[in-house]
């Protein structure tokens, strides 16, 4: 019985290996290999010697962290609000959250230029209302990149969170109330802990996606907000220094795996 399906799955496995695993293996190979000399760590030494690389890595982490936090701060209340809606309201709100998924990231990112530019919607509103005299520059800096990334990735957090929230039985909250808990206690002791696994999973997903984001930083950062993926683009397409790019990619991969491992540990501890 067990081996029976293998014949059907084998072509897919081969495809997976050729299309996904082989390139990663090749990349890892590049990062530790020097033509004619074999195994080497010199590409990593190169990374350490040029502080620009570490700065970009730190920069990427910071932007990813802020964008993720912004996502949580906006996404959690949004999902909570959606849970309280009628069935019809939920459907509408859900489509509004998912709708951007169907529009190309490129289009959405360019839309932010219209909204955030010096003559854009936000700046005109700010000046008209007298809050500022001169236009605030949102574009071509970290602020713009963060706003853009938070927007693009919001559904990745809101969807799992919303799914977890609607699974929470209202009777649990009623039980807590009848046991004497005020609304604040009901939220923090009952509701929030039950959404925590989904929140953690969504947050992690968003953070990892942030780390490797390319389009939005490239457009909204205008080349002035160097993130890892943009650096990789330069190293591969412009200089080109593939070994260096492979070494950086390897570090990124390891960081991502470490974060994921930490999450799994926390998750398992919570489940035990």
């Amino acid at each position: 019985m067990r081996g029976q399906g293998f014949g059907f799955v084998a072509p897919l496995l081969v495809l997976m290996f050729v299309a996904f695993n082989a390139p990663i293996a090749y990349m890892l190979g590049l990062a530790f290999w020097e033509k004619g000399r074999g195994f080497t760590l010199q590409h990593y030494e190169g990374l350490l010697e040029a502080p620009v690389y570490l700065r970009v890595l730190g920069n990427t982490m910071r932007v990813a962290l802020v964008a993720t936090l912004a996502n949580v701060v906006i996404g959690y209340p949004l999902a909570l609000w959606m849970r309280g809606l009628s069935n019809r309201g939920r459907m509408i709100a859900l489509s509004l959250v998912v709708l951007p998924f169907w529009v190309s990231i490129l289009v959405r990112t360019y839309a932010w230029i219209v909204v955030l530019g010096n003559g854009g919607l936000v700046n005109r509103t700010l000046q008209w209302s007298g809050l500022t005299d001169a236009p605030v520059s949102f574009l071509y800096n970290e602020l713009g990149v963060t706003i853009g990334m938070a927007n693009v990735l919001l559904p990745f957090l809101v969807l799992p969170l919303f799914a977890a929230m609607i699974r929470i039985d209202d009777r649990l909250l009623q039980a807590a109330a009848s046991l004497g808990a005020p609304p604040r206690t009901i939220f923090w002791k009952v509701f929030f802990p039950l959404t925590l696994p989904a929140l953690a999973a969504g947050t992690l997903l968003v953070f990892i996606l942030c780390l490797g984001f390319y389009v939005t930083p490239a457009i909204l950062g205008g080349g002035r907000v160097p993130m890892i993926s943009n650096l990789l683009d330069t190293l591969i397409n412009q200089i080109p220094r593939w070994e260096q790019a492979a070494a950086i990619s390897t570090i990124l991969l390891i960081v991502t795996l470490l974060i994921f491992a930490a999450y799994r540990r926390l998750d398992r501890k919570a489940a035990a």
Partner: protein, 323 residues
Amino acid sequence: MSEIRLEGVTKRYGTFAAADNVDLAVTQGELVTILGPSGSGKTTLLSLIAGLNKPTSGRIFIGGRDVTDAPAQERNIGLVFQSYALFPHMTVLENVLFPLGVRKIGRAEADRLARDALKLVRLDGLENRRPSQLSGGQQQRVALARAVVFKPDILLLDEPLGALDRKLREELQVELKQLQRSLGVTTLLVTHDQEEALSLSDRIMVLDKGRTQQVAAPTEAYLKPANRFVAEFLGIANFVGLPDGGQALVRPERIKISSSGAGKPARVVEAIYLGQMVRYHLSLDGEGAKPMVAAAPFVGPAYATGERVMVSWDAADLWPVAK
């Protein structure tokens, strides 16, 4: 410890009345069951008393205090849900500690109270389990411990044994009754099971379509039902014609069967062996209507299917019931 009083309590969803002008007074320490078919408004009534829902009209008093507009948090009611509603992310002990933590009871004292409550429902030793690691009967007891640990003024139980299998249910009925009596807490218990209502209650309130049909002691509700609905809901009901054209109820165990003697001639259509009892379906001669049901202890003379018998009853065992 308190009494409960409902005055004209009505809950409407649109034009539909889930509870319709319900009056009820439960005295201190009494156990009253609300008995009714599914959808008759039992849960609605409990949720109104617990404050999870607001009545459309009418007043609710607990211990003489009008709580109609008080939030659930301030009513000090122990509530056990039909689905138990245990907190899945907490251990058994943490579940039981929850109402004590809310009441700012010191850690050591709370711990002692919670462990006492768990001992009371015979769950000591399972403190660190999660609800998902417990059987249905055990979950039910955790819910019960959580509902009594903070010494509530009243206890509300929504079909607390409904999800359990029959044997366990009968065991827990006895335990529940003993627990309630030892705590002396005024209790309203919801059930759709008439045996449970008859065996547990000081009084029964029979509910149908949101309306009170009767409030009475079990024997009275069983033998002297207020109307035909109560008569039929509380067990097997035989109706016999009265000389004045009315109808009267006679319960199966009041019907006497003999092979010869006084009474009406009849034929045994079915003899059903039930262990302690035998139930006979009897077709009275000349009365084509549905067979009469009689129940007799198994130790007496037995009659076989198809046998001809004589059937009688005492006039004192008849109770007139409106059609």
